[in-house]
Symmetry: C2
Subunit: 371 residues, 2 copies
């Protein structure tokens, strides 16, 4: 037993795929006194949190709130509510999280077809159009910003048009895009999207923002079978957040203080200013990496500012460098995923982690370690 041990976590500089660094204002909000899950003060906070989430999602969707779980719970919630057992669904996979979408969709009873691009590539509209012609799918899902490769799937608005012409709904994974890059749920006509609190929004993990448009809401409200998950039942969530505020589960007041403060930081900076800051800092990173012969793996056209995959030079052990960054400099970056495991580093500049001083520090540390 170590009952009397104390815990002083190191002050990490979090430049991995998430969590990003918790904003100091968010830390202060997090540690405000706990109130009950039905306290009128918390219910007022929810109303503000919803408005802020609508601002960052760029939507007017009534069903816009934050689930009591991590981003993966948001993915599962979207799928288990939108799929009825036996529903045909198409998942377009251009990285690890697309594969996860297909796995969860299968577990919750969907009949899942996959189309796949090699790691580091994205889909053309023609590929998606042709795949949608195979069957009358009820749901099409794709990842907007693939955290495993650093690729942004472009043309979401055009994809939404193709999906709707085929009669399906569009589910978009926005875990790494929300708050980090432009994302326009209503203008692009996305039916459902989910995200996470710990990347672009600068809060600790533990909450999963989700937004559900009219078509998707109608699909959920007209289900023939009950949602197989009680915990992630979106109708019950909507009723707790908005309708009669009926008890469903004991939401974590402190996490909601934190997420709301993170959202305020973005809205106060200005959503577009946030995106510009992220892009500018990442462009500095990219120039620095190129100068050190560690070029970004993803072409500039669809390279994600919040997540850069940098190619590891021949003869360098990427995992040893990562360990030294952590142990000697307190800097966290991540390894590559799957086939890219030994070939790239994944460097995140999201939310409050995206600051000029962090870019300069990381480049300086890499220079020292690789010299």
């Amino acid at each position: 037993m170590t009952a009397h041990s104390k815990f002083d976590p190191s002050a990490r500089i979090l430049l991995g795929p998430g969590p990003s660094m918790t904003h100091p204002r968010v830390i202060r909000a997090l540690s405000a006194p706990t109130v009950g899950h039905l306290d009128p003060e918390l219910l007022s906070l929810y109303a503000e949190e919803q408005e802020l989430l609508r601002t960052v999602f760029q939507t007017k969707n009534e069903w816009t709130f934050a689930l009591s779980g991590t981003g993966t719970s948001g993915m599962e919630a979207a799928l288990v509510n939108l799929i009825e057992p036996g529903d045909e669904m198409l998942v377009a996979i251009h990285g690890f999280f697309g594969e996860r979408l297909a796995e969860i969709a299968t577990r919750v009873g969907g009949q899942v077809d996959r189309i796949t691009r090699p790691l580091g590539e994205i889909f053309t509209l023609e590929e998606i159009e042709s795949a949608l012609r195979q069957k009358p799918y009820k749901l099409f899902a794709i990842v907007h910003a693939e955290t495993s490769t650093g690729a942004e799937q472009l043309h979401i608005k055009e994809i939404a048009d193709l999906v709707h012409q085929s009669g399906a709904l569009l589910l978009l994974d926005t875990v790494t895009s929300l708050g980090n890059i432009p994302l326009k749920i209503d203008e692009w006509d996305v039916d459902a999207a989910y995200s996470a609190s710990q990347k672009g929004l600068g809060a600790p993990s533990g909450l999963a923002p989700i937004t559900i448009g009219d078509r998707a809401k109608s699909k959920i409200e007209n289900r023939k079978s009950p949602v197989a998950s009680f915990y992630l039942d979106l109708k019950a969530y909507a009723n707790y957040w908005m309708g009669g505020h009926a008890y469903h589960h004991t939401a974590s007041a402190n996490l909601h203080y934190a997420l709301t403060e993170g959202l305020r930081v973005i809205v106060e900076e200005g959503r577009e200013n946030t995106f510009a800051r992220l892009r500018s800092n990442s462009e500095t990173l990219w120039r620095g990496l190129e100068n050190m012969d560690l070029p970004p793996f993803i072409p500039l056209e669809y390279r994600l500012p919040p997540l850069t995959t940098a190619q590891v030079p021949a003869g360098v052990d990427p995992h040893q460098v990562r360990a030294r960054l952590l142990n000697e400099y307190n800097i966290e970056i991540a390894a590559g995923f799957g086939a890219l495991k030994d070939k790239v580093w994944r460097i995140g500049l999201m939310g409050y982690s995206s600051r000029k001083e962090n870019v300069t520090l990381l480049l300086g540390a890499l220079r020292e370690l690789l010299k």
Copy 2:
């Protein structure tokens, strides 16, 4: 938009069914710097957190950890992992949370039979023995401490013997018992139990401690069908916490700092001392309520110290009194559930909320409001 609004939650005295008040040490731990979900420092913390959870659960179970969701996610996780579609299951219902067990078990594909006691009563061993004879059930579930009524189901060890003689496994809801009243997972031979971070453990909500014994683990490892929930898949959790520390979801480091600190507080006070403090403060409350003609609803024999249902006198509007306690005194207590809605108040004295000064304050406030 209210982007610039600030949020200063009132310093509530939380004497409802949970959350209890977050311990000041826990608030400090909560606000330590965020580290990554695979940081070696967080993985070390998990090892300590597991040992502390085993101490409060009184178990040696290897699979003892905390899920990234509220207590309801713990309930759903236990059911969705232990039930295969079509499995026969018996739920003994003596309050709201027993009914929730039956509902979730049905949603995840179980064939559920129910036995029920009126609100405020508990089961005899004979009732359970006779119900177990109806069919060869695979799982039997019951709530240890019913937060909706304040009743403790006694004789869990004897119930476990009956359940095992019948060939079933025992799932015990310990949401309101863990850390609040004696609970002996190994000595009583309970196969699986789950709880929540925000009641007896003095942390914010958002984590669900769970413990899985050998028989239940074997049942999960030998399932014919995959677990329908990816997010709550206990094998994946075990692998993230212990085995290869494989990525599964982005656990909230800050919530784990908080829960671990809450557990340390209990182990440092001494588990049995904690139970004695709770009982002593609740006995003071009960005497005070009796003196004011607000007698506890549950007989002393199986009355729960952490949750007291107090009978509302004729002519008193219980909801108006609750609102005045909140608005004038910053004290949260709760209404009754279901048929008890207008008949009782629910008063929680759990975790850090169970302090002499809180009892004196509540009794004083009730005296002023009811005079």
